[in-house]
Symmetry: C2
Subunit: 469 residues, 2 copies
């Protein structure tokens, strides 16, 4: 028995479809039974024959009935009926999802790392360039897939920028646009799977990278950091084929890998058919010298994969990074990954391209370095002045964070807890150790990217009070 409601939201054919479907599910219309002919049902219900046909078509598309020429629409066998009778239970909308994040205590002074200064963002220029990029995109652009590695023009501009600023001499062909480090490293793991599933990395090191390698099934081989970079003897003993490093400003220690270590690393790679993954995440931000030459710039690019990003010096919410592949990996990429579509939207690609080719990007880098240098110098000055005897500073002159080591025997935990009591949040270094038992356990991490000068002054004052107490 089908009831139609002309005033319902649902069109008539859907009402017919729904009710017959329910009758099939409930067994009122058992397997093998025949639906009334469309002509007959349309007369019974006083609707157009078309309406009934549409309902039957939908039932038939979904497989509840089949139509055979001459024999009409026949109800099909439904195994697993239980799922369907549970439908009501399953299909409730789930709306209770808004509060996702847990409330946490807010400290007046938070030296959070990994954050940028909003004041440094070139909002007007970015808006202007984005608007222009927006107008430049046609319906044709937007309804076709982009160049799979990223637009050639953008990669060409990137190759010019990399040569000029980082000494990287590569062709546009070698550059693959990525959407952040997760994308780049996951892709690399896929590329390297047949070579190795072991990866040597810095101890302590960037936990995000470690995480990605583990999630891709790679075994981690931690190699300790010393004053001028990786302990090469440990690397030699680790029998790894691939090493992941942050040589320009090691995370978290802030160490700059010396030219000796760079050469030793390259030599290691050459002798072992090894690969160096050079994550140059914040190399643009240096305050007392020019950016340190990249490893890849020393040796051409036979044994080095170079990774750069726009997240640190411009904006992490654009989600644009890139990777330079050496020829061997590039060949493999073209062969096995040539179908992968770029993860970066065409609009963002045009914006970055325009930023670089117009010269705004280098201009922005200059300005941003000056602005961060001011904060950095203030921070270092204040720490030296108020806490010079109780802490040692590591990793200065670059990036957006420093490390403080207690000279008075405080543990990391004590440093953090005492700071909290004075309303200041500083951050553990132990997290970045794979085997924290080797860690001296007397350092904390301070980010300053998003702090104002007043924040820095106030925060360091409190911190000095906390640790001197």
């Amino acid at each position: 028995m089908i009831n139609l409601d002309n005033n319902a939201d649902s069109p008539l054919y859907m009402q017919i479809y729904e009710q017959i479907k329910q009758e099939i599910i409930n067994g009122v219309l058992p397997e093998g039974s025949r639906l009334p002919s469309t002509r007959h049902l349309s007369q019974t219900l006083a609707v157009g024959r078309n309406t009934v046909e549409n309902a039957y078509l939908q039932l038939s598309s979904e497989g509840y009935v089949t139509s055979r020429v001459g024999s009409g629409f026949i109800v099909q066998n439904l195994n697993g009926l239980t799922y369907l009778t549970n439908e009501d239970k399953c299909n409730k909308p789930i709306k209770s999802s808004r509060p996702e994040s847990k409330p946490s205590i807010v400290y007046p002074h938070n030296f959070q790392f990994g954050l940028l200064s909003a004041q440094n963002f070139p909002l007007n220029i970015w808006r202007k360039i984005s608007s222009r990029a927006l107008s430049s995109l046609t319906a044709e652009d937007l309804t076709t897939y982009c160049d799979k590695k990223g637009e050639l023009e953008l990669r060409y501009n990137l190759s010019e920028y990399l040569l000029k600023s980082r000494g990287v001499s590569c062709s546009a062909n070698q550059i693959i646009l990525c959407a952040g480090l997760e994308y780049a490293l996951s892709l690399l793991c896929q590329l390297l799977r047949n070579k190795t599933t072991q990866i040597a990395l810095e101890e302590p090191g960037y936990i995000g990278a470690r995480n990605i390698f583990t999630n891709n099934g790679f075994q981690l081989l931690p190699v300790h950091i010393e004053n001028d970079g990786l302990k090469i003897s440990e690397l030699e003993n680790a029998s790894a084929k691939v090493v992941y490093v942050t040589p320009s400003h090691q995370f978290p220690n802030g160490i700059v890998t010396s030219i000796q270590k760079r050469l030793l690393l390259l030599d290691w790679a050459k002798r072992n058919d090894g690969l160096i993954i050079e994550d140059d995440y914040d190399s643009e931000l240096r305050y007392n010298s020019r950016p340190i030459p990249s490893i890849i710039s020393i040796a051409g690019n036979e044994n080095v994969v170079y990774i750069g990003t726009f997240s640190k010096a411009l904006s992490p919410s654009l989600r644009v990074s890139y990777m330079v592949l050496p020829q061997k990996l590039l060949d493999l990429y073209h062969k096995e990954f040539g179908m992968y579509q770029t993860p970066v939207s065409l609009l963002e690609q045009r914006v970055i391209q325009e930023l670089i080719s117009s010269g705004y990007w280098e201009n922005h880098l200059r300005k941003t370095c000056v602005a961060y240098k001011k904060k950095h110098d203030l921070l270092i000055h204040l720490i030296s002045e108020t806490m010079g005897r109780i802490v040692k500073i590591h990793g200065k002159n670059a990036g957006l964070h420093i490390l403080l080591e207690s000279s008075q025997g405080l543990t990391e935990r004590e440093m953090i807890e005492r700071a909290k009591e004075h309303g200041v949040l500083v951050h553990p270094v132990s997290t970045f150790w794979l085997n924290p038992e080797n860690y001296s356990n007397n350092m904390v991490l301070l980010g300053f990217g998003n702090l104002s000068e007043t924040d820095i002054v106030e925060g360091i004052k409190k911190l000095a009070q906390a640790w001197k107490a």
Copy 2:
């Protein structure tokens, strides 16, 4: 001997740095030798002491020299000098990279699949919404990382849309924003690695997906497609834990998985603690019935991962897709992947959110279906009329492609070659078979997404001539 050129592009301190660096590399300044004091050199060169200091600082940052209190700057040992003397060779700019794509023969009529109609793209609305999103973004938005799974508001709107249009009842919490299928499936492979590294998939099936699974180290278990979907008996025998399917419009065959098969699939998953990856890539595009209910909508979401995209019905160059994870995988995601940043730019997220919440998205879907239906119906009509006796049509009424099977004994290759002779490009199906020996070898694929009605009329006319000849 240092020569300075006041008219050079390079600043004075860089000239000093470069020349000392070269002397170290060339062995003119051997290991252990001391650089002149900054005061002395600044007098010799008649430059400010600051200039010399900057040069020394750079040399020291890069590790060519070290400074020790009281003993000045000492040249360090350089192992692997060979790299540095090769520098000139390595650092040539590589500019010969422009022509990447090979020239290929252009056919007047190309039934390319996977392309969209530029006419259907809502350019004005998209520009308006994008401009608005652009103005809404603040410098703070742009200098912080976005919500890791995608902005909550967008995921909330997506969950509402999914419930309404695809019967998927999930919370925003379960949705992960992705940048295309490569990102989504690679992430899934990472999530599933500890459960299995085998994946059952449709034979024939989408080559892109197969490719991603292989690249992630998964073993492929092909399961044949029959008239109403996957051969469940083969799936049972394959001893897989995970199956990847395109049930709404199977690629390439265009088959709609019947409700029986959907239930059998769910039953298989329940009995085997299995997982169904439901790729619902073009489910919005249906021409003779409403979209087919998703598998996930039948069974809640315990054993189903649902993947949707904006690439087919809106734009592939936005690079926005999404994944709905069942609770068990979601827990794992939060635990092991909680640090992954979203790959989608904040701007695109705002655009998609505004599209959905303003109602434009559903409006666009309605219009786009009408427009594609017109082309689709014309195509089917013309083929039936001119070639009804020599080909059989598969996979009509949905998506942007159909299959044609030769009824006159032509092989795939013959169909393609004869078409080419008449200036028409149709596409092989054999590519989509993992084991092509099981393929009847008498079908071709025709896409119509980006063709005009004139293109379709002309193309089909030529095709009929080609195959009738």
